[in-house]
């Protein structure tokens, strides 16, 4: 189960309304490499992970990603909460406004709604950990794409923090993959799937 802590992991204090920026950052809420996909990916994969420490790491990173989802939502909320009707016409935000006003709804910047196909839970430890490593790099790239075109320091600071976390998670998943390999057949990591062919597992 989870316990809520009534604070953000990193502070968000944005004073300037900017629906255009919100319409881009929303991809890190409900987009293909966003925080919702990240959290659901790790929290879905953990049940069948053959290595207990790796299941624990997936739980802890999946939990931190929920905190990141909250930071992203706080950024979007603060960028749009004082919007006036003329701001709602901003290109890129106008279509979203028609369907959701200023409420938070998970979607990619290009308008594709959040979809569970954004992440994989394949049931093979090697496959899933490579997915996780790639996911962290894709999220880093998405943050860098945002950081490159956003000028407002109040918005940039939390984005820079989130980008750094992608790198740390990548590092931890790399270590998790090495730990998992120790439990596989050393001459052929693909000799069996440790999440299914349990009779071969050294666990």
């Amino acid at each position: 189960m989870w316990t809520y802590e009534k604070r953000l992991q990193y502070p968000v204090n944005i004073k300037k309304t900017c629906p255009k920026t919100a319409s881009l950052i929303i991809s890190q809420f409900g987009g293909p490499d966003g925080e919702m996909a990240a959290s659901m990916r790790y929290l879905s994969q953990r049940y069948t992970m053959p290595c207990k420490e790796v299941a624990g790491l997936l739980t802890d990173i999946g939990t931190e990603e929920l905190g990141h989802l909250e930071i992203i939502c706080a950024i979007i909320f603060q960028l749009t909460k004082n919007m006036k009707p003329e701001d709602a016409k901003t290109a890129g935000f106008d279509a979203y406004y028609i369907d959701h006003t200023t409420a938070l709804w998970p979607t990619a910047a290009a308008g594709v709604p959040f979809n569970a196909c954004e992440f994989q839970s394949k049931g093979d430890a090697v496959t899933d950990l490579f997915e996780d490593l790639a996911a962290e790099q894709k999220a880093r790239t998405a943050y860098e794409n945002l950081i490159r075109i956003i000028d407002e320091p109040d918005v940039l600071e939390p984005l820079k923090f989130l980008r750094e976390r992608e790198i740390v998670h990548f590092q931890r998943f790399g270590e998790a993959l090495e730990k998992t390999k120790l439990k596989l057949e050393e001459k052929n990591f693909y000799y069996f799937n440790p999440e299914f062919d349990k009779q071969f597992s050294k666990v």
Binding site: T3, K6, Q9, E53, L57, D60, C73, F77
Partner: protein, 99 residues
Amino acid sequence: MSDRIQLLEEIQQVGFQVDDLTLYLDTHPLDKDALDAFTQAKNERYQLMQNYAREFEPLNIYLVCPDTNNETGSYCKYPGQKHFTWSDGPLPWDNQGGV
């Protein structure tokens, strides 16, 4: 800077140390230096959370103590009345300090 924001920033900083060391220890469970750093950060965080709950609102449900929370009566709908203090304080997604 208000006491509230300053104390919250201290919790955010030491809380982040706990978050980061948790992930490191998940893959390095025998690292003595990291274990010492984790224990120190975790204890410091708990102390700050208790201080914050006494002065302001409780940040998690287990710190709710209707008799001792929120001495400053900050962001409180029921000043002077015994009440469920979980609802005191600004929302986390409001601008820092709820301004």
